[in-house]
Subunit: 159 residues, 2 copies
């Protein structure tokens, strides 16, 4: 393996590991348990699952690697806070969407070359990217992996 | 910047960003507020701070980059759960230790070459490393960055 391959592999492995840990916690909760809050008056597990799914779904366009699968999740799970309206999606559909989005992203990352990882993300202009080449896809994936970790730390508290 | 430099820089920037966000939250809490729990019957902020400091302090030996600064934090903050005994360190000393450990680690990472990042960590044997070169320092730092994110997600819940 080349140095470049080893360096990108570290991020890719971390992405898979963090999602797999969240998945384990998710599998251990029934649909009814997804209604639990992580702490009093805080987000429900249901909302965290929808939020993470929506944020990951946005990565297709942010990374310029395909069409989004579930744009309908933005409004209830990113624009609005938990319990702003009635639940828009049954928990089972949300579980399915979460798995679907991650599986597709992971399959794409699996085949990324170093050049793919270092490609600019779509929220940065060519000019900005020329002066700051760290605004690349790799940084986005690292950031999103930390984002899953952040909410995983909350999800384990629900009881 | 070379590809290798860009690839390692992404992890290094993420490490700094995640710690800096935790630091902001920490600066916003008084020593008295560090006694708050992240959720009922869960860890206090004081314990999380000690735990993260101890885990980061162990990176000096785990990465083979120097002597630990605060081995005395292992017992109260890694071996034992929160409130197992009386608080061993005043909050102000814990804040100082946290900053000291991270500043020193960050200064070392700043000067890491690609070879330094891809060097094996000390918990893996030469033989194991030969068959799995992903068990390197970069992976440890990515893992620890996710660990800070995990507990940061909890720390923001304390009120």
């Amino acid at each position: 393996m080349t140095n470049e391959e080893l360096l990108t592999l570290a991020t890719f492995q971390s992405w898979k590991q963090v999602i797999s840990r969240f998945d384990k916690g998710l599998a251990a909760r029934s649909d009814e348990q997804l209604q639990m809050q992580v702490a009093p008056a805080r987000n429900r597990l249901y909302y965290l699952l929808g939020h993470l799914t929506a944020v990951h779904d946005r990565m297709f366009t942010l990374l310029g690697i395909g069409e989004r699968l579930h744009p309908e999740l933005d409004e209830p799970f990113i624009t609005n806070p938990d319990r702003a309206g009635s639940d828009p999606v049954p928990p089972s559909d949300l579980r399915k969407a979460w798995a679907e989005v991650n599986d597709k992203l992971t399959a794409l990352f699996e085949n990324f070359t170093t050049a793919d990882w270092l490609h600019k993300h779509s929220a940065v202009s060519d000019e900005e990217f020329a002066s700051d080449p760290t605004r690349n896809r790799l940084s986005v994936v690292i950031n999103r992996t930390n984002h899953v970790s952040f909410h995983s730390g909350q999800a384990v508290l629900a009881k």
